[in-house]
Amino acid sequence: MHVSESARAASAAESRFRIDVPIAPARAARVVALDERAASVARRLAERPWAHARFYTGGAADGLLHELDGTATPLEEALTGSDVVVVLATEDGGRATAAAIGRICGRRGITTAGVVLGDGFEADDAIAALRPYARVLLLSADESDTLELLTALRV
């Protein structure tokens, strides 16, 4: 016998009755690698099974995103239908793209997360480039941090 509703509800026995339905992946994620080293991480991650995540490389002067097979897509279009964008960077070469992504996401209410791979002064530049736009910034991160983040977000 439990002496209160809360005590009974918090018991191990009662935890068994939590409704058990599979969680529908809620996130339509875009993962954008802003430079070459980030792109190699993105390529490896893209090989895993994801629900809806799509992977791109970007950061070149043309302002286009490229799918990993090379297909070019305008930024606006690539982000359509997305609700979270995860940007990967190792340096600040993609500053302009980061800013463009940030502006679009800000306008459309898309949450952005930035993952800065590695550390040192190049990474500092990447941080400065992503900071204004990323709701969350993971610093001095590595591939496994990126994997954990994407996995936890169920993308």
């Binding site: 809360s6 018991s11 709701r135 969350v136 910034l137 993971l138 001095s140």
Partner: protein, 410 residues
Amino acid sequence: MGELFRQYWIPALLAEELPENDCPPVRVKLLSERMVAFRDSEGRYGLVDEFCAHRGASLWFGRNEGSGLRCPYHGWKYDVTGQCVEVPSEADNSSFCQNVQLTSYPLVKIGDVLWTYMGDAATQPPLPEFEWIHVPAEQTYTSKRWQQCNWLQAFEGGIDSSHVTFLHSGGLKTDPLFRGAKGNEYNMNDTKPFFEVADSDGGLFVGARRNAEEGKYYWRITPYVMPAFTMVPPRGDHPVHGHFWVPIDDENCWTYSFDYHPVRALTETERQAMIDGHGVHSKNIPGTYRPVANMDNDYLIDREAQKRGETYSGVAGIAMQDASLQESMGPIVDRTKERLVPADSGIIKARQKLRKAAVALRDEGVTPPGVDPEHHRVRSAAVVLPQAESFLDSCRDAVKVTPGVPQTTV
């Protein structure tokens, strides 16, 4: 994870629980092991197996006298190391008792806390150096409370900065140990903070930034030292608080909550507020470490106070607002049913660090972060910075312990 915890010095009990030599022994359960703690006639502390080696009676009934704890059943007597020193039924100079030793762990008083190390004696690290236990006694206060859930979901609340503006919004305005700081305004005015999560030597720094005046950000920096120590960023000149979570078993933990000021004594009013369960502390049932508001009385939830806007959840007190929700998840929350968001990155990263450290320890014997006492010398900080500045670069000194230098706070 148990092995991981056995690499560290962890709080075993409060020093006030063993107030004088030869005082009654206290039952202590940690990392799923039942023990008794006692303080012998010479003031030495011991933490030993709860059960007598003879026929298994609880040494909680032991007579603490003459430099040892004597089982009242047949009179076997043990010293603070668990060594049996007397077996009355044996011949007077029998060597039998030399071969009887209860499992025991070191127990050391530092600050208001008795610390133990439950791992291999060969790898026992130097004693902890957290600032809160090393400032003079008048500058610090520690309480503890029993929490009825797994330690990890309780600990995760300590790095979950995004709940503060909701769950604790009432407290920011009214709690005597929180209210009145300039930083609180930034907190209330911007409920959508941005987060940055960075590795540190001992664990993590989680920075939460909110808009401040034009061109400036208000940063709150929370350090995490593995396995289970976090500090809350300061508010004004209020004492600085933080927590240490210690597993009792898989479904219970101790939450140690402390408040200290790096450079001044706590005022009478502050200390009284802490004793009364304000701030991060809880009002406990006298003679116990169970909160007065607990699951058995539905945390004394007051829907009227909630309606009046005094509390956000209807539960009073910051500590119990946290505990009530963490316990409501069940004894061990099912994380396969979570939906984490980018703002939960601190939690995501902390879990990863714990898992990595546990695996590296198991597979390669790697000493985990946070064992080296140098890692303990961190502070939380609250600061307003120009937008272009990185909190880690600008706050390198602010997040380090410098004795005699006040905390960095807004």
